[in-house]
């Protein structure tokens, strides 16, 4: 726990807006690389993948915040909203590259969404992210009430699952990476089941309760 406390006190000095700045700068930087032919001979697919993978990573990281705190004492709670909102914008960028640069026309977009299961689940994941991004502010929490807000934000679970299935479904042959993500997401979801017993002595229940309502 000493290590996690050191990291936590370091993290306390980092303002949350750093996440938005770094995330936004990364999105722009990747776009610049793709637009200037520095992302291989087929930049559209490469950019789509970059955005898609970071989006998935951020979604998984957002899901991991509470378990990380409970298991390791590492406290990323204050960054959770920024992680979630940044995930939304990165997935939005992923969607826009697909819609505008890859598929190109609305007709083809609709056909793809309806006909291709991997696109369908990807779209579902993206659409579910929208209400979460819109309500990721204190005003929304007050207006909706903590309980309703928490219920709404449980959408993160199907979002993560759909995102992983989307990834699994689009690769050819047996590839390990999407299965690694699937394993992590299933583990994180399992850890959050109410019946799961947390190991004792690693956290203060009251502190967690307060944090979880944010």
């Amino acid at each position: 726990m000493i290590l996690s406390q050191t990291i936590n006190s370091g993290l306390r000095k980092i303002p949350t807006w750093t996440i938005y700045i770094v995330g936004g700068a990364w999105v722009v930087w990747m776009f610049y690389l793709a637009a200037t032919n520095q992302m291989g001979p087929e930049p559209i697919n490469a950019l789509e993948r970059e955005y898609g993978e970071l989006g998935l990573k951020l979604i998984v990281l957002g899901l991991a915040v509470t378990p990380l705190r409970r298991w390791t004492g590492l406290n990323l709670m204050k960054f959770r909203r920024a992680i979630g909102v940044t995930a939304f914008f990165v997935v939005l960028a992923h969607f826009l590259v697909w819609a505008l640069l890859d598929v190109g026309t609305f007709g083809r977009m609709w056909t793809e969404i309806v006909k291709r299961p991997y696109v369908t689940v990807g779209m579902a994941s993206f659409i579910m992210l929208i209400p979460l991004a819109v309500t990721s502010n204190n005003l929304s929490i007050r207006k909706l009430g903590g309980a309703t807000w928490r219920k709404l934000h449980k959408l993160t679970y199907p979002i993560a699952l759909c995102a992983v299935v989307h990834y699994l479904w689009l690769v050819k042959g047996f590839q390990i990476e999407p299965f690694v993500y699937l394993g992590i997401v299933i583990l994180l979801l399992a850890l959050r089941q109410s019946g799961f017993k947390w190991p004792t002595g690693t956290f203060k229940p009251r502190a967690i309760k307060g944090a979880a309502s944010e």
Partner: protein, 299 residues
Amino acid sequence: MAYRWKNDLSHADITPKSAYLNRRQILAGTVGLGAIGLAGGAQAQDGLEPNTLEEIRSYNNFYEFGTGKEDPALNAHNLDTSNWTVKVDGLVDNPGDYAMDDLLAGLSVEDRLYRFRCVEAWSMVVPWNGIELADILNKVGVQSSAKYVAFETVVQPENMIGVQRRVLDFPYVEGLRLDEAMHPLTIMATGLYDEPLAKQNGAPMRLVVPWKYGFKSIKSIVRITLTDEEPPISWNKANRREYGFYSNVNPTVDHPRWSQASERVIGGGLFASRQDTLMFNGYPEVASLYEGMDLSVDF
């Protein structure tokens, strides 16, 4: 039997080496202006402009060396191509283990500027150097009972990271019906842009069947077997629903997970739009091979 097929474009139309080595820089410059990639995309769609050597060597599927498009370029240098031997067996008059040079000795190497369409819906144009497969088959003597040709890629587990990860059931195997194999368009490529094949492109010899999806054009071949039964092919073994034995380029038969009606042209840059995929990848002369077949069933 050589020279049975003629390019619409002659060898002189192939971009000179100095130009194709520079095209990337020119393209990069154009895109930077914000006029936005139109140059590369449009050129690739009129006529047949070959992709640059760099593009052809850096964007590959060769799952023995990893599943990423850049993996083969990074890992294929491990492939050992020295003393390349090809086993020729099955229904042939002269079976045996042939040194590659012996197998190809005396046969004509031709320039073939072909479209290359991947099943993943991207495409390139490649200036191959190769020998008509028919010439090789005639040299080893095909017996009259043979109906199919099976091919096998080398397996060097210690040199092939993808083989260690069991991405597919290796060795990679492919096959053609005998009339497809004998068609003048079908070649055994040994080079491109008048240079020996790079290892990621399937050195030292690979099949090129331009009217079929790229995975049919099996790389780094070590075995050619004439048979009277349809041979198993790797992608069909991995997923029967998605990859058929024929796998002819066909814009009207979609892959179960994605559309085959259009393709992304490699080298067009970030802002190039898709182009329509052509039936038989723009080689209508092969249509007669499939007369009377339902190509949505025999996909």
